[in-house]
Symmetry: C2
Subunit: 372 residues, 2 copies
């Protein structure tokens, strides 16, 4: 029977033993019954099988448990349950990897990937830029005016702030229509290909409509927060017959990654899981910004996004939050060309206005192609 | 303009100040821009307003921030973003309460509530019992045979294990049909009203179908894991014109509550949030079981589930995980009559079989009505 592996990092707490804790996970995430009330046949056919543990430098153990694909198949939601259902409540258990190749009939990964995004934007090589339209409270026209300036300056991807939804001051349809026209108008003048990515995150009864509306308007991509709107829903959106590239936003996901020994490693969450679930671009809080990831964790996310996997396209790592435009050359040296730099506040604060800020960003990125 | 309050507990970390951290939350969860680039008008109309902080015994501060309802309205998903979008990535920030009354046009709470469930089960007063059909790997007929025994013994609510989805060994439709018939057959023989609650947690394209199928078969309730299938989707299911009572399961939710100073307090998550989102019954890991909640945390969940709110029905607290049938009288004394006791392993381990186990549970619960 086909199985897939989940890699855990486990802290053995006072009063626990590694073997008992690991077996506890293997049983909890499959049969959910004590050893003595299940048959030998069920134990062999259904229960997770423990691999060999490795002692890590921090005193934790890394261990793979292999579960039957049939415990999850044919559904993504049930895969998520096997991945981290009840064990999400167990202290000291962190998921750091999944053997995706065995799951490629359930999870398809990105539809466009790095190459697809580069092709849409006609930018074969350099890092890309992204900014967010805000603040919440602006009218659709005010946001469209901002988008025009950003596109005139040459930002590649102009996204809604993830907090723009369907509020009365900038309702979804009115906003998306106005901003799309603005960006088109700028592109006509510049000859470039800036793309607008509206936030389509919504309830299950509105989500598909918003994707369809964005596509009908001619948007080049969409923004979606999978931990708000649903992880599995992102995969549905990604693999529609004529879907748009998806930029995933980490809103509401932080609790899975802020505890260093419980939940998911940042690289697993934003590199592996979001990618497997169809994110073409994955936003994460950059080191040095107003959130708490280390440079090492960010580099690990980048590696996971771009790792070569037989069945999945790659995903564009999109560090954001606290990225200053002046620091782009430094970050590009650290992160490489296949990176999207998401900048908000620092462009709005530029003394000469956002068009000049955007232009500076574009020129900086263009200068990097041969220099990194 | 109408506002609603969110109550946070905040740990001020090294290098931070309370005022700066609290203002950071108020800005991050609304305009997401630095103070200096937004207008006075936006600051007054959109940004969260800080209440007066209280110093707690553990050195943290409790503080309310009041946000315009219009920042969230008219959508639940955007409410969740205002509640805990980006701030989910900020260490030392825990949400402990929401002023629901101001949000009752967005969130409706349970449709049935404690009284509705008691009426379905014709059990006006005593605590209720619940068990789970498992293990994963059993055929539909094997699970139906278990359900028959539990119903003959008199378990009130017989639910699927939350890991039973649409696996090949017990496909959803076949399983739900077989188990419903089993429980009906037992009820005809006993004259009681045991209810079967199938797990309908699924992807957005299958969810409504599973609810409809369960209702068409004559199920009395459903099981749903909101952190797997979608938080907002639970509210949609709950407020259909002829929906079934919903038992919420905490799978995949643990990371929000296992860190004691980040995420949500257990009482907020399983008492307040699940209830606001439409859970009629809320399963949580009981103290003393194989997970990590304290008795104090469990009592706080019960209080939140049952708290009198002008717009919401109450929710049945459903402690599970490690509840032993022998301990029911003790737990009933601690938790009171409006409790559903969820028992799995200890019934399966009963030396005389599960029907006798179920019968003992029922007799114990019946003896409690006047004794608690």
């Amino acid at each position: 029977m086909q199985r897939f592996g989940i890699r855990y990092r486990i802290r053995v707490l006072e009063g626990e033993s590694l073997e008992k804790k690991a077996l506890g996970i293997a049983y909890e995430q499959s049969v959910e019954l004590p050893y003595d009330v299940i048959s030998e046949e069920i134990r062999e056919r259904i229960v997770g099988q423990l691999g060999t543990p490795t002692l890590l430098e921090d005193g934790r153990y890394e261990l793979e448990i292999r579960y039957p694909v049939g415990n999850a198949a044919p559904e993504i939601v049930q895969f998520l349950n096997v991945l981290f259902g009840n064990v999400s409540l167990t202290p000291g258990v962190q998921v750091v990897g999944v053997e995706w190749e065995s799951l490629n009939e359930i999870l398809y990964g990105p539809k466009f990937g790095v190459e697809g995004i580069r092709s849409v934007l006609e930018q074969p090589k350099r890092p890309l830029s992204c900014t967010a339209l805000k603040p919440m409270g602006f009218s659709s026209q005010q946001l469209a005016d901002l988008a025009y300036e950003f596109a005139m300056g040459g930002i590649d991807i102009i996204k809604d702030d993830h907090g723009l939804a369907d509020q009365s001051y900038a309702p979804f349809e009115e906003r998306v229509t106005a901003i799309t026209r603005s960006v088109e108008r700028a592109n006509e003048q510049t000859g470039r290909h800036s793309v607008y990515a509206p936030n389509i995150t919504a309830g299950i009864q509105d989500l598909q409509y918003r994707m369809d509306f964005a596509r009908a308007q001619g948007c080049g991509a969409v923004l979606y927060s999978p931990n708000l709107g649903g992880l599995e829903a992102m995969h549905v959106l990604a693999h529609e017959s004529d879907g748009l590239p998806i930029m995933a936003h980490p809103a509401f996901s932080g609790s899975y990654v802020t505890h260093k020994e419980q939940g998911f490693s940042p690289a697993f969450m934003y590199g592996e899981l979001y990618r497997a679930l169809g994110a073409d671009m994955s936003i994460y809080p950059n080191a040095g910004g107003r959130f708490s990831f280390s440079l090492e964790e960010c580099l690990a996310i980048n590696i996971a996004c771009r790792a070569s996997l037989p069945s999945y396209k790659t995903c564009f790592p999109t560090p954001g939050g606290g990225v200053q435009w002046k620091q782009i050359p430094d970050w590009a040296k650290k992160y490489g060309l296949d990176t999207i730099f998401l900048m908000g506040g620092s462009l709005y604060q530029h003394p000469e206005g956002i068009r000049v800020a955007a232009q500076t960003v574009r020129e900086t990125l263009e200068s990097l192609v041969d220099g990194v």
